[in-house]
């Protein structure tokens, strides 16, 4: 099993890239972007944000096993937010694909910015405070 601190650093780095990418996606879904900028954002999502999300899942599960965190109550609560955030990212990429085809993205995706912020704040609180 790799060193716990190294796993933690890699997990936090990957999670930071996911949050940055999802905030960029949120802004693109809020206001229309020029086609070239939308294409750049979709490339960033394909080569950085989406692989980082996969890395977050794998590193997170490895950390939970090596730290024996599955026995703690806060982890299932955090996992619920991770699942919600992952689904939101899936919806954002679906919305960006529709924008790239010249179609409108679903209106509710304009509020995805709030979903990202609420989920990230909840995850950070649960991980740092470990309240239960």
């Amino acid at each position: 099993m790799p060193d716990y601190s190294l796993l933690k650093i890699l997990h936090i780095t990957a999670a930071s890239l996911v949050v940055i990418g999802m905030l960029l996606n949120s802004f693109a879904l809020l206001r229309p972007l020029a086609a070239t900028r939308l294409a750049t954002l979709r490339r960033w999502d394909l080569f950085v944000t989406s692989p980082a999300l996969g890395a977050v899942w794998i590193l997170g599960i490895t950390l939970a096993i090596s730290g024996n965190w599955f026995a703690s109550g806060w982890l299932p609560a955090k996992l619920a937010f991770v699942v919600a955030l992952s689904a939101l990212h899936g919806m954002q990429t679906g919305g960006l694909r529709r924008l790239a085809r010249g179609e409108a993205a679903p209106a509710f995706l304009r509020f995805s910015l709030y979903g990202v912020i609420v989920s990230v704040v909840a995850i950070v609180l649960l991980v740092s405070a470990k309240p239960f």
Binding site: L53, W57, I58, T62, T93, G94
Partner: protein, 90 residues
């Protein structure tokens, strides 16, 4: 859609192997290694399944509830195989 079907197949197979082979081996025979491999594999496969479903539901403008129904049936054993059938028929 092809990727989603492949992930659903991996998720469903990992879930069945975990439930009917790895967990009994861990609790009845004290052999924990299969559960240690299949548990994370199933977890990652389920997250990928949910992510792909969310993307396709928005991209292809699925009717309300179809993605939720497919996520819900992915939570039960053999559910992913029913999801595969549903995804292949449409």
């Amino acid at each position: 859609m092809r990727l989603l079907r492949a992930v659903a197949l991996v998720e469903g197979t990992a879930f069945l192997l975990l439930l009917f082979i790895a967990v009994p081996l861990k609790h009845l025979a004290g052999i924990g290694e299969p559960a240690l491999i299949l548990g994370p594999l199933h977890g990652v496969a389920f997250l990928a399944y949910g992510w792909l479903l969310s993307r396709l539901a928005i991209e292809q403008n699925w009717p309300h509830g179809r993605a939720l129904r497919l996520v819900a049936i992915g939570l039960v054993p053999l559910g992913a195989f029913f999801a595969l059938r549903s995804l292949s028929s449409k």
